[in-house]
Subunit: 240 residues, 2 copies
C-alpha cells in the first residue's frame, strides 16, 4: 500500500488516498490512539460516491474509529469487464420487460463478489499494518452480496451494517447462513431497485443471533438522517 | 381522577397511583418543569406487569417525560367479560389445532379496542390537567390494535412506538391507513404468539410518512436491551 495524498480536513480528520497494487482507496483517521477500523462499502465509483462517503467517514472518525474504502472491480477508473457490462445491460432490459432476473444477477454479481472480497481482505491486511489502526473491524454498506461473502469468510470482521439495496444471488443464501456476527440491516421499504421480499428473505437467512432490521419508508437513497446515529451506536457497541 | 398513593422512588421519580372513575392507573413524574407525556401500553394486568412497566417509566422520566398507564378493560381487578374469556379460550384451542383465527380475533380484540380507546382518551384529558404535564403525547407499546385506533382517532398523540406482538383484526387495516404520525414499530422475528407476515402487512398499511420497523431476533419477550435507547431517541425527536 502506498499513500499518494494527505489532507487535513476540518475537525482534525486526516484523509489519505492510497493505492494497493492498482486499486485506489481512501483512509480517514484522527489522532494517534489506536482506533478500530470501519470499512465503508459503496456501489463502485469512488470519485462519484465521494460526497456520500465523506460524511459517513467523518461520522466514523467522530465516534473514535478509522474509516477506509477501496474501489470495486470495474468501478471508477478500474478496467471494465465486458461480461459485467453485458449483464448490466441485460438486467436493465429484463427489469424493463418484467422478466425474471435470477440468471442475470448470478452473471453480474457472482464474479464481482469473487474478485472484490479478496481485494477487501488484502486492503484489511495493509490497513491493519498502518500505525494507529487496530481491530476489531466493522463493515458498513455497499454491495450486499460482497458484504455477505466478506462477513462469512473474514474472521476479522466483527460486526456489519448491511444495506439491503442490491441483488443477492440465490446461491449465496447458504453463505448468509454462515454469517454469525452481529448485523444491523437497513431496508428501504419502497426501494425501486430492490425486491422487498428478497431483502426480508436474506435477513431471515443470516445465521447471526444478534441481527436487527431497520426498515424505513422511501426509495433507495431516502435513508432517514437519524439512521446515522443508530449506525454509530451499533458500531460503538460492537467495536469499542 | 383521584390520586390514591404517592411514593418517591430513587432518582427523584415520583410514582402516584390514581383511579379514574373505577379504572386504576399510575403516573410517574419528576421535577416541576412541564414534561411531555408518554402513555405506556401493556397487555392488561397492571400489578403483574409492574416489574416491566417500572423500568420503561423510569427511562421516560430520565429523558424528561412524564409516563402514565391505566388498566385495560377486563385486566387486573376490573370486571371480566364473559365473551372475551370465551374468545380467549377459543383462540388457544384454534391455535393449538392449527385452525384459522380471524373470526375469533375479531370477537376478542374489537370489543377491547372499542372499550379501551375512549378510556385512554379520558385518561389523557385528566392527565393533561395535572400540573407539570403537557403535550405533545407519545404512546408506547401495549395491545397493537388499541394503539392503532388511538393513533388514528386521537389528535393529541404525536408519535407512537408500537409492538407488533398481538393480533390485529383484518377490518382494522383501514384504520392503520389513517394513522399518519411518526411510528417506531418493534417486531420480534421469532415471536411464537405472533404472525410475522401479519405484522409486516400491518407495518405496510400504516399511512405514516415516517415509520421505521425494528425487527430483532428472538421471541415475544426477547426485545434486546439496546432497543430502549432507540425508543428514547425516537420520543426525544418527536416530543421535545
Amino acid at each position: 500500500m502506498r499513500f499518494t495524498t494527505e489532507k487535513r480536513l476540518e475537525d482534525d480528520v486526516v484523509e489519505r488516498e492510497f493505492v494497493l497494487d492498482d486499486i485506489p482507496g481512501v483512509l480517514w483517521t484522527s489522532g494517534s490512539q489506536p482506533a478500530p477500523l470501519v470499512l465503508l462499502g459503496h456501489p463502485g465509483g469512488l470519485r462519484a460516491m465521494y460526497p456520500r462517503l465523506l460524511p459517513r467517514a467523518k461520522d466514523c472518525v467522530a465516534h473514535g474509529f478509522a474509516a477506509a474504502t477501496i474501489e470495486l472491480p470495474g468501478g471508477g477508473d478500474r478496467p471494465r469487464s465486458a461480461a459485467a457490462e453485458e449483464a448490466r445491460a441485460d438486467l436493465r432490459r429484463a427489469i424493463g420487460a418484467g422478466e425474471p432476473v435470477d440468471e442475470i444477477v448470478d452473471r453480474l454479481v457472482l464474479p464481482l463478489v469473487d474478485k472484490a472480497v479478496p481485494e477487501w481482505q488484502a486492503a484489511l491486511d495493509a490497513l491493519l499494518a498502518v500505525p494507529g489502526i487496530s481491530g476489531p473491524v466493522g463493515f458498513s454498506g455497499g454491495v450486499l452480496a460482497v458484504a455477505i461473502r466478506l462477513a462469512a469468510v473474514e474472521p476479522r470482521i466483527a460486526a456489519a451494517l448491511l444495506f439491503a439495496g442490491s441483488y443477492v444471488p440465490r446461491s449465496m443464501f447458504e453463505e448468509a447462513r454462515r454469517v454469525t456476527i452481529p448485523l444491523h440491516v437497513l431496508l428501504q421499504w419502497d426501494d425501486e431497485g430492490n425486491d422487498r421480499q428478497l431483502a426480508l428473505d436474506v435477513f431471515d437467512a443470516f445465521g447471526s443471533k444478534e441481527k436487527t432490521l431497520h426498515a424505513n419508508m422511501g426509495g433507495h437513497t431516502g435513508v432517514p438522517a437519524f439512521e446515522a446515529d443508530y449506525a454509530n451506536r451499533f458500531f460503538v457497541r460492537h467495536l469499542r
